[in-house]
């Protein structure tokens, strides 16, 4: 019987073994039946991974430029939506008369998120301007 040794399947098997080790160690500490169930789950996935390792690797999806641009565009709109939502929350916390404690928490969280995300955006934009986009 021949086993595949590509990175993908090896990672999966190592993760299963780590899961079994951690949950098994947990079970030895607690002797809890629920924890034993988690060990069993890990063992099941491990057997399934080993079975798949005996089969040839299925052809993967090509990550071409269409997919990359799709991700970039979707990611950009998610970013803009989050930024606008945070800005909206900052405005709400400033304009509307709500409970002071909530108002302060909302203002802090939203403004921190807004400036944090926007700073990250500027940082990445600077990085890619220097590095170039391929």
């Amino acid at each position: 019987m021949k086993f595949r040794t590509d990175k993908e399947i090896l990672t999966e098997i190592v993760m299963c073994l780590a899961w079994i080790f951690v949950t098994g160690w947990g079970w030895l500490q607690t002797r809890n039946p629920e924890t034993l169930f988690l060990v069993g789950m890990g063992a099941f996935v491990l057997v399934e991974s080993l079975y798949r390792a005996t089969k040839p690797k299925p052809p993967g999806v090509i990550d071409d430029e269409w997919m990359q641009r799709l991700r970039e565009k979707a990611g950009y709109y998610v970013f803009v939506t989050i930024i606008l939502a945070l800005l909206f929350l900052v405005v709400i916390s400033m304009v509307f008369n709500i409970n002071n404690q909530i108002k302060m928490n909302l203002f802090d969280a939203a403004s921190f998120g807004f400036f944090g995300l926007f700073s990250l955006y500027l940082l990445f934009a600077y990085y890619y301007r220097k590095k170039g986009i391929y």
Partner: protein, 64 residues
């Protein structure tokens, strides 16, 4: 942008899948290119033109 990919594919008896494989992209990418819903990178445009034995400007027609 209009493209003549479909026409040139037919000339060389290539399916979308064949062309996609030759230039290393997904079939969907070729589909969207043919529909004019996607602007390819210069590299992809060059690769497609090369496979279709044409010049880039013969395959991709930019309008205004």
């Amino acid at each position: 942008m209009k493209t003549r990919i479909k026409e040139l594919r037919a000339r060389y008896d290539l399916t979308q899948e064949d062309l996609a494989k030759k230039v290393g992209v997904r079939r969907e990418t070729i589909l969207f290119l043919e529909k004019g819903k996607y602007n390819p990178s210069l590299k992809l445009a060059y690769d497609i033109a090369k496979v279709l034995k044409s010049k880039i400007e013969e395959v991709f027609i930019f309008e205004g």
